[in-house]
Symmetry: C2
């Protein structure tokens, strides 16, 4: 309940409390439960409020599922308060790719294009918070090399925070993370035959 | 991954799929991990985007922890798009209570005032989504009667969605919920001596 509580242990790492506090975080939200992406977009609200540039990279095919969050973050970014927000969608073709996307094209190639851009942005320190939404799936499907992804994340410069969402996060990613939260489904309305509904699921 | 996937079972409850889909939900985010409240505020983004009136009731003493979310939802509410958002804070004295709040006063009385207002709002169908942030604590501390709270939630009219957050949700509340997600801490930077930091924890 207290985000400013005393830490449970004090490490012998030669860092001051302030250096340790400002350490950039790699966060992973995984598990079969709800709230993995929703909590990541909640983090984006905090980052926006701090005035941080936020980059969202959505590794899903459907653009429908996050329309509420995307619209909200666009309104926030346009408000003249807080930080800028840039939203990239793989499903609609990455915005920086000029050619018209072939809807039957290789999704692995699209995922790799997304990762290449993230690598460039991390090197350039374009954003202060990266929301890598559902990145675990292209990792699980072998479209992206998990060791390469982890190496890029580990060696990112500066004070860039990263949150990765999705089920079945690979072990290598979990090992590299500073903070891992597993969202566990205890009960879900789909279990009793209820379908997803507007305003709740998207 | 698919919010519109087929449900696992089809219940024999006499409802159409549409009636079942539009059923109002009582959601609980509990567990020791992060993301319980953050995911609830992410839900509020979706509700706002649908144009739904959203009521946030924050059952915590410190007003600091949600400043990012509160600011974002105020900007969204003032944008002229989406739905209205009303934010009530127990720690600062509930906004509908006129007298100056005694900071050393009875927090149980303040919690009961909050619950009484929620009861009135549910009866009047004031909001379409209620974020009852950290409501589990006044329940755990005996400031609110869990059976009374559950009865009010169960008997709420119309199509009002409710999300309750906080650790150690009482069994009676879990039993009444349509959707329960447990956020489990797998790894947290405070374990290695890192304190909470701006933009991440608040």
């Amino acid at each position: 309940m207290t985000p400013q509580g005393q830490p449970e242990t004090v490490p012998d790492d030669g860092l001051t409390t302030r250096q340790r506090r400002d350490r950039p975080l790699l966060m992973v939200h995984t598990g079969d439960g709800k709230g993995k992406s929703t909590a990541a977009f909640g983090l984006a609200l905090r980052a926006w409020s701090q005035g941080w540039p936020v980059g969202v990279f959505q590794f899903v095919k459907s653009a429908k599922w996050r329309i509420g969050e995307e619209r909200a973050l666009h309104v926030l970014a346009d408000s003249g308060q807080g930080g800028p927000v840039t939203w990239h969608k793989m499903g609609a073709g990455w915005s920086w790719v000029r050619e018209r996307v072939d809807p039957d094209g290789d999704p692995g190639a699209a995922a790799r294009e997304g990762w290449a851009q993230i690598t460039r942005d991390l090197t350039a320190q374009t954003y202060r918070l990266y929301v890598l939404d559902e990145l675990t799936y292209p990792l699980r499907w072998g479209w992206l090399d998990v060791n390469e992804v982890v190496e890029v994340l580990r060696s990112r410069p500066g004070r860039q925070h990263v949150v990765v969402t999705g089920r079945r996060a690979p072990r290598e990613l979990l090992d590299a993370a500073d903070l891992v939260t597993e969202m566990t489904k205890v009960r879900h309305p789909m279990d009793t035959g209820q379908k997803g509904q507007r305003g709740i699921e998207w």
